[in-house]
């Protein structure tokens, strides 16, 4: 299946392509997708699946489906 991944405000060294299509097998989870993005510390990032928060502790059990939009960003602090 294909999903869309949007990477927002990723800190250096950031992977190329802030928005991309990602091919994943059926049964893949948010954790699987996150692990395949080439981020330095994937677990330290926040995730939204179709505008809903997916807390870090639940990603391994959160199944993806075709055409999902996964948004990934660092939990940076305000200023």
């Amino acid at each position: 299946m294909n999903i869309t991944v949007k990477m927002v405000a990723i800190r250096p060294p950031a992977p190329p392509q802030p928005e991309r299509k990602m091919e994943l097998p059926e049964g893949a989870t948010v954790a699987d997708a996150l692990a395949g993005l080439g981020l330095a510390k994937p677990d330290s990032h926040a995730t939204l699946l179709n505008d809903e928060s997916v807390p870090a502790g639940t990603r391994a059990g959160k199944l993806l489906k075709a055409n999902d939009i996964l948004t990934v960003f660092p939990p940076i602090h305000g200023g």
Binding site: K6, P12, D51, S53, I76, G78
Partner: protein
Amino acid sequence: MAWHEKILRVDLTKGTCQAEALNMEWAEQFLGQRGLATKYLGENMDPAADPLSPGNVLIFATGPLTGTSAATGGRYSVITKGALTGAIACSNSGGYWGGELRLAGWDMVLITGKAKTPVYLNIQDDKAELLDARDFIWGQSVWETEARIKERHQDGRTRIASIGRAGEKLARYACVINDLDRAAGRSGVGAVMGSKNLKAIAVRGTSGVKVKDMEAFHVAVTAARAKLDPSGDRAGLAATGTISMLDITQAFGSLPTRNNRDVQFEGADKIGATAMATPRRSDGQPNLINNKACFSCTIGCGRVSKIDPNHFSVQGKDRYKAASGGLEYESVYALGPMVGVDDIDAATYANYICNEEGMDPISFGATLAAAMELYDIGAITDADTDGLKLEFGSAEALVKGVELAGLGEGFGADLGLGAKLLCEKYGNPDLAMVVKGQEFPGYDGRSMQGMALAYATSNRGACHLKADPYGDDFDGGPIEGKAKIVYESQNSVAAVDSSGLCLFPMSVWDLTDVASQVDAACGGGWTAERLAETGERIWNLERQFNLDAGLTGKDDTLPKRILKDAAKSGAGKGKVAELDKMLPAYYEMRGWDDEGVPTTQTLQRLALT
């Protein structure tokens, strides 16, 4: 000891400047800067005093690490009773002024009374004097004030903290600006300064700051820098500043838009970090010229910008075509989405005027947003605005509005009231997006529930810098965990705010890293645990000041819109701020009663009785 153990007491009524010993017993209890100055404030004034009366006290305070080589060790705070809020104000600034005060040999400047005529304070190492500001800098902008003082005293390295015309006119959110574009921004500390007829504090120091154990201090600073300097967080702040937060709050749905009617802004991509760095079609130059750093800072999050010389806002105004302090996240939120404007040059111009005339861009933008909503519903009309069309999304209204507010002219006098008083004046108090009278920063509490609790309980009114709920909010953490996160981070932040350091390294450091530097500099056994306890003591001291000033637990609340109207989109879609679930747990954790009053046991535990 990193403290000079010396404060400057200035009595404006008598026209005197006197050195006095720092109370080291208090320094052991409250560390410095925010904490120590709050102690001095409470001991030197009646908290019930009118903030714009001579009875208010104005304190410029450094921390023990200010002026040292500790990374980001250049901060100072302005502590007073806020003109905007009637609550404790603690506005923290960077730049070079705080470090210079320490190099001049002072820990703090404590100002009482009111000058008969406008003056400025000139500090040259251990000499301090009040000088006449009339026919010199009174009536001038911050930028002109800095230039004239440097010229008169023939020293380009003099550092100046001053108010602009907004402060002179007592705009409720007037701020103190140092180094042209660094601000002790919030709560109206500049209006307090204006009410005292004090235009500026110029300082030049040629000594240094001694630390308790130089070798241990060098080891601690080097170790802390070894964590901070190579980090992605530091590199990200240097590259894009804080403005990259806009992309996150837009994606998350926590970006206050059109006075919090919405939580995502359709024009976000025109004013964010990418837009700021992209060359314009008109002249091939980007808005962003460079980054810059404050005293002893290894991050460099500050922005330096240039407005498109063809933009309507700068036609016939050459001084705004030069490079100057650029937009940061809070300013771009308030001067962009909050007022519905997607014109980065108009927002940059408005930010310049806020710097030039000494206004908090957060409060100005949020007040203009409230005015736009009042205009939209017909509560404000063209007759009130002298024909200015206060429409959401109007860059022209933003540009004209900021000019009027900066000078306190025409409808600008109404804008200078702040959102709370403005909305009360025009019969719609619920439209003010404020807590304790202070306007919202750039986070909507319906998708960021921890931030909602942080806003509601902040001692100085709505604030994004007095707690650190960001990570858990963005991770979608449960409501049940919010009270603990806000409570603990409020304590940590209070300690860091009292040290002389900036908060930004705290995305990489923890209190252990702060403690090692403070202990090497000051001695006395500073640990992470002691810093956390000191932060809790400071938080409760501020709370006591507010209670004595007349605030109550009823002030720990949010606007009706955030509590009753569900967010329309984003991660918080369909949600309101669940303050009723979080606040009781927070009070219990703090050791406060049901009315939000610290119990006797809590005060005894913290040695506050």
